[in-house]
Symmetry: D2
Subunit: 186 residues, 4 copies
């Protein structure tokens, strides 16, 4: 029985590396996979999944208008679907993916952030956490040495920003992953 998998982490845990490793494992064994990433995340150019270790691979892009049901035809020989930056999925898309997993017995693995810089969950991440049959956390490291589970936003001067738009890709702002103790005490 196929599962909807969700691998969540704070920033800089190695989510994309793990996605690329899983894709490699399937492909090496002769299995077919499809990779998606969010159109909004164009840090490396549109349609590229890249790891801080230096590995990159092309991917299809999705945005809130994407209908996965149309893209993932029934009866294909697809072994697995891998989705990066899955926090940008809409709740409706997550429901659609969950249905596709079980209707077509097709494993789908989503990788993404849990919550934004204010500790507020992304709507897509919430729905993934509510429906996935397999949830696991990738560990990143806080500056204090503990496991980080959250992130904070810094402005140009390195001062923490406590409110603002959830999404701010490619701005001059910076993010840093932190453990909850540092999130509350700094």
């Amino acid at each position: 029985m196929a599962k909807l998998h969700y691998r969540y982490a704070s920033m800089n845990a190695g989510k994309s590396t793990q996605l690329l490793q899983v894709a490699y494992n399937y492909t090496e064994g002769g299995h077919k996979v499809r990779l998606f990433t969010a159109k909004i995340d164009d840090r490396l150019g549109t349609g590229v999944i890249g790891s801080r270790l230096g590995v990159t691979r092309e991917a299809e892009v999705y945005d809130e208008s994407t209908v996965f049901d149309k893209l993932l035809k029934r009866g294909s020989d697809l072994a697995c679907v891998l989705i990066d930056e899955a926090q940008f999925l809409t709740p409706t898309q997550v429901h659609e993916l969950h249905f596709l997993v079980h209707d077509r017995n097709l494993p789908i693995m989503c990788f993404g952030l849990r919550s934004d810089f204010m500790g507020i969950p992304f709507p897509g991440s919430m729905r993934l956490l509510s429906l996935a049959e397999d949830i696991s956390e990738l560990k990143a490291i806080c500056a204090c040495g503990h496991k980080s589970t959250m992130q904070i936003r810094l402005d140009d001067d390195g001062v923490r920003v406590r409110s603002g738009d959830t999404v701010l890709i490619g701005g001059n702002n910076r993010y840093r992953q932190v453990c909850a103790a540092c999130f509350y005490s700094t």
Copy 2:
């Protein structure tokens, strides 16, 4: 470093049994714990946590007006707080509990459902999934033999009900835990 723990499951997995076992383990070792359950859930009487295996234990009750910060005084010798039926916590209460874990280095373990009979997540469960440092699933079994991760509601005649109020405790309606494949195909 203390953690916010969330043990989620569909109905009839044994959540209350595990809560009572953890409470027993702490108490047996001379450690002090406090147990809470939702006031709204009065199936066994108000303020009782009970397991289908036949074990019961008294607990304090909480509702949406409960301020845990007042109940859990700083500097007490408390080793752990255990909360049953945690799907009824408000998102604000979950944030408060998360802060208390890290401000007071106090482990808090919450046990509850993930989603309602329509597959919609409870607001409290969503916030727990977004903030907990340790998330794990307790396994219940679908009638088909697979792991159940969801529940459906049945009416008096055993016919599946697909819409209605999320909470309906002690009514004549009945619930049954199912795997996602059965959730979508029945």
Copy 3:
């Protein structure tokens, strides 16, 4: 695809409670299970699995001469086999169980200790850790408040014993679960 499951823990984590809960979950759903415990462990009488929470249930007994292949007939309607005190299985029996899981598509769940009071693994536990497709730890609590993963033996005067026979059931000796830091520092 069925799995060999191994739930290990130090003493007093609640292994038997969890086994009895899983058995209850299957039975309640109309699924058939068989329970085994080690003949050598007669603390509650032969053939009884008991939880510190006060729940007990009869079980079949096994010893090193048991051939599970003969007991678990092909083609039965068995949904799951549950084995308590699995540290007393021989490596050969563990291999046999692993084969039966995959030959008959029959889930088998083993519950037991990992290592003895000297930190030396039980032969059966080692083989379970080497072959099980699903391994998880049940948490017990050290007197210091941390998770316990090991155990120590005490003599009649409460003094730690550092060598001796691995198995000593029902003697006047006592065991206590500890975390590794306490194991090495006391």
Copy 4:
């Protein structure tokens, strides 16, 4: 409280990739790590950890004569020790590493195979499974599409070899990761 971590997998799961990602995460945060790999594994040259994704990094080598207690001086500013090909550690070395974790509050992460091509556990892996406070599995994929947990050895003609020396690095023999069902049925 630091832990001994063990990440096990069958071949071709991505163990070295994950090790290199963890090392990167620590180093990027300004934390100091030391990397070790087995001297016997010279597929990429001695003292190199390499991932099938194309990432490599130099590492110190260990063999059965290595005394980690001497190498890992007390009071250093080391944040983590990472050991690849950990199935080649001796049981005594694993005990030493476990002691060092708790004596010096130093996290040590070991990555390695669980069992050899006959399904027999490596002595070092067994001891890691018996002592590690944190055990997790990295998933590789069997040719049949299921999770692989074991490996088989093939000869020059691609015929399965069922007995022989456990270790045979760099020979003309080949290995392939398989699930248990394929291990028993082929």
